[in-house]
Amino acid sequence: MDALLIAVPIVGAVLAYLTRANGWRSAMLIAIAAFHSAVVVSLWRRAPTPIDGSWIGLDDLGLIVLSVTSAVFLSVAVYAAAYLRSNVPRGGRVFVSCLLVFLGATSLVALSQHIALLWVGLEGTTLSLAPLIYSRHDRRSLEAVWKYLVLSSVGIALALLAVFLLAAAQASDTGARTLLLTDLTARATRLDAGWLRAAYVFALAGFGTKMGLAPLHTWKPDTYGEAPSLVGGLLAGTLTTCAFLGVARFTQIATAAGLEPFVRPLLIAAGVLSLVIAAAFIIGQSDVKRMLAYSSVEHMGLLVLGLGVGGVGAYGSVLHMINNGLIKGALFLAVGNLVLAAGTAVAADMRGMRMARPASAFLVLAGLFAITGSPPFGLFVSEFSIIDGALQQDHPWIAGITVVMLTLIFVGLARMIIGILYAPTLEPHEEAARGRERPSFVIAPAFLTAIVLMFGLYIPPSLQAALARAAVTLGGHSP
């Protein structure tokens, strides 16, 4: 059953490439995304337990990541089908095929119980999105895709080094199977601490580059700014989540080996730096998609910060991974609607969107409150848990800095979004140009926003239990 989640999208990608009719290809994309989501929902019926010795299997953290990526991908697929009807990019076949390969690769990452297999999957996700970033075929997107490729490739090479170093740490334990997660965590005390430390540093740098942690975030604004919005949603909503899973896996191993005193300061430093950099560039940002990219840097910072403070913070971090993935997908799609309507992503030129695209404007407004951690959205709960974790673990300064940065970011984001939505248009007659909004363009982000709203009010017991178990493996506990 698990392997189908990988195999079906990959086979679908080949079939989509061979299909000539645009309509069939879009139908195939939605059908496969729906199948994927249906399988993932069915997996929630029982608690996940990986089969011993198998490279592919489900554990709590993997199932959570799988669910986030599946939900975001389903929305993006519905959106993409409508998008491809109005904007046919050059090579529409490649577009759909790459999306499906990406889905297969994310499933592989989430299901990997073997660290090197996780690496292979993550490299697959990186490469499958590159042609999509370049789908506009102009100079700016070319520059964006080059920066994305070079920095991601260096990051992923460092992550591979981390994988090899981890294998070296296992060398003295002759009974263990190489790089299998169950053996790594169960026999963690027999790992060589020196190699493990080196592996962890490279893993944080490598996967951190893919997540977009400061100071290795520089590809992010360029790439998110130039990629089509739905690709931006995939990058910010799912690719970063998969990269975070890489950091989380290494953290699980280091935690099991009792290396928390070594890894936690590293995570806290990366997290705080990301928050500060994000706040600095969000204030005064002029391009709305680039601003979303810096907002992503902020949330990646919060994720590692939560792991770094431990305790309730680790629980908050996993919950935040879910909320951030979903709302980033929703925001990119909704903001994308406004950008398409305005014909630009420069905030000063996008005015009066409240009148021109009321439904999308409402979703962007909801997304603004959600992403800045306002109640009643899920991000309020998860950010609160992370800050609470910092206080409980005797890091009052870190809690203080976090609150200040989150406030600054709220001001920066709100100023731009409110301007886009409510500033009067320069020419009055434009007000009349109230466009009809395609249902798919609104339903897709609305679906994701609704889930985030639900997680702010109610977390289902099965998810609550999975979160608690995942937090324990990361050296924390549930509140």
């Binding site: 490469l127 070319l142 080196a198």
Partner: protein, 213 residues
């Protein structure tokens, strides 16, 4: 016998690092990086100890991908784009080589402080220096194609760690790693081709439209 052969191969790897670092002609750079790929293939056989079918297959795969297919692809890219040499690197050739020398010193320094469970003492510094020189090329050269060569060298350094240091990583995984590197460089090559068509020059210095204003 195998020990001294390994030492010799590792020394040759370091020489190819410096050869790429000090050469301005791109065709020569590609020749050296292809040679380095072949060295890695042979090394993976020599270091592995007992010779199995999987090991032979993997060594053959490494040589085919790193020494034949990718260099041929890069050669195609520079022929299509009609570029011969790296003009005006950010850091001059002599300075680059000196920087490489410093990297070599750092590599041996770091390697000395690493846990001493390695079978072959030279492996760690050689892998590290290959990694660092790859990084130097990636950062100091302006042409996108030379940056691809730098990335390939960086990847070779990581691969060296893999074949010598890590306990037997399963064959399928090694093959997956090789496939990913192949696809990665392939996509980069295609982008290089587009950069050339779009900008009439293959310099990544033209790629500076996107920045914070």
């Amino acid at each position: 016998m195998t020990h001294s052969a390994t030492q010799l191969l590792l020394l040759l790897v370091v020489l190819t690092d410096f050869a790429v670092l000090g050469t301005s002609r791109l065709s020569a750079c590609i020749r050296w990086i292809a040679f380095q790929g072949a060295l890695l293939g042979v090394l993976s056989l020599v270091v592995g100890g007992e010779i199995s079918w999987n090991a032979v297959l993997l060594a053959a795969g490494t040589i085919v991908v790193k020494a034949i297919v990718l260099p041929a692809f890069l050669r195609w890219a520079i022929r299509e784009a009609a570029i011969r040499r790296e003009v005006e690197p950010l850091v001059g050739y002599l300075a680059s080589v000196l920087l490489g020398g410093a990297a070599l010193g750092v590599a041996f320094g770091v390697a000395a402080s690493m846990p001493a469970s390695v079978r072959d003492a030279l492996v760690v510094p050689v892998a590290l220096v290959t990694l660092m020189i790859g990084m130097i090329i990636l950062m100091t050269r302006l042409k996108a194609i030379t940056q691809v060569i730098g990335y390939l060298m960086l990847e070779n350094g990581v691969y060296l760690f893999g074949i010598t240091l890590a306990r037997r990583v399963p064959f399928l995984i090694e093959a997956g790693v090789l496939l990913d590197v192949f696809v990665g460089v392939f996509i980069m090559g295609i982008v290089v081709f587009h950069i050339n068509r779009e900008f009439d020059s293959i310099s990544s210095a033209n790629l500076s439209e996107l920045r914070e204003s």
